[in-house]
Amino acid sequence: PHIRTFYEEAQTCKVKGAWPLVNNDYLIVQVTNDPVEGNTDATATSKLTVIVKGNPECTSANFQTYQAQSNSLPGTFENGHVTYGPYGSLELIEVEPGRHVEIHIRYIETVVIVRQIGRYFTFSIKMPEELVNKTAGLPGDVSNDLDLCVRGCPLSEQINYQEYLAKRRFARPSQTRTSVSSSSSSSSSLSDSSDAKYSSDGNSPGEPLVSRAYAEKVCRASKLVDFYFDSCVFDLMATGDENFTLSALSSLQDVVKFHPSAARTMDNRTTLDLYDKQYGN
């Protein structure tokens, strides 16, 4: 999946299996990522667990757990509750059943958004800066060293999406899927004969499932910018699944809502010129 860390680093990662996203004094978030159908090492999030640590004064002394798995985005915490504490200090809001929930942890002004798009999840969190890294662990405790939201992905887990896109700039798409998801309303209107969407000339690793030109057209129509545009193009080329366009769009909307100043500094797109030149031939 693509990650934008608390420190505004944007990465595309493999991170297959279970990984921690956040682990501090207030909450733990863990994800499980499964390989996606396609010709890359890419994975997407199929399971997500949020554990809100206890707060005796405002909610309760116990941890509260929220768990979502593919095709199950519950509208309550694990024990069926939606609010905790006499002041609603911890509240789970089901914004759109089965598709969008928000967890508001009011005593630390933190909001977690979980969306299910297709089979996979998107995650966003807004948290006060001074609490992000607050861990009262034992001396030498390195428990948050692998938190993806804090440290980003380890180098060995990173995918250079710019190189991937540049190397396949003119690649003809392979046909590994019998059909392409058409949940995005833009897809049908964008299909045109000049942009080869599929061909049947083999299936070697890393070959795109749709052409870069086609993917760019779909992503541009969704008004995606910057890292979110390239992520969308990468996802479409890697899987041919247009659900991922909506995933990038939702994530961009969360940034605009949570972090307007970051949104103002976004470029129309990240530059691929260097990579396009390098792999142009």
Binding site: R4, A42, S251
Partner: protein, 108 residues
């Protein structure tokens, strides 16, 4: 900081006492609602550092001066038909710097 709740109560009290239209209004009644407003504001927790809170507080102080109100005197009892939601104790309100970080994970 739920200072807007004090403003709502102030407006509501003015309506109840029939002094919500254009003035001039009876000074005694105005002082009663302004004292109520002031009392609500000084007992609302978690407003340290909120600009809106300090602005409103200075407005109330100015209005009280204009109407020669004393700080001690009659106030409006909270209406029984409009119960106030429980006041959030200060410990359950975040009082740190309002500077936020954001993280997201999406796509493949």
């Amino acid at each position: 900081c739920h200072v807007e709740r004090c403003s709502d109560e102030y407006e509501s009290a003015r309506q109840d006492l029939g002094i919500d239209g254009p003035g001039p209004h009876d000074n005694t009644l105005m002082c009663t609602v302004l004292r109520t407003y002031r009392h609500c504001m000084i007992t609302t927790p978690g407003c340290q550092g909120e600009i809106s809170y300090y602005s409103l507080r200075s407005i109330v102080r100015r209005l009280m001066d204009e109407h020669n109100c004393t700080t001690v005197g009659q106030t409006v009892e909270p209406s029984e038909t409009k119960p106030r939601p429980p006041m959030v104790p200060a410990i359950c309100l975040y009082k740190g710097k309002p500077v936020y970080r954001h993280c997201s994970l999406f796509g493949d």
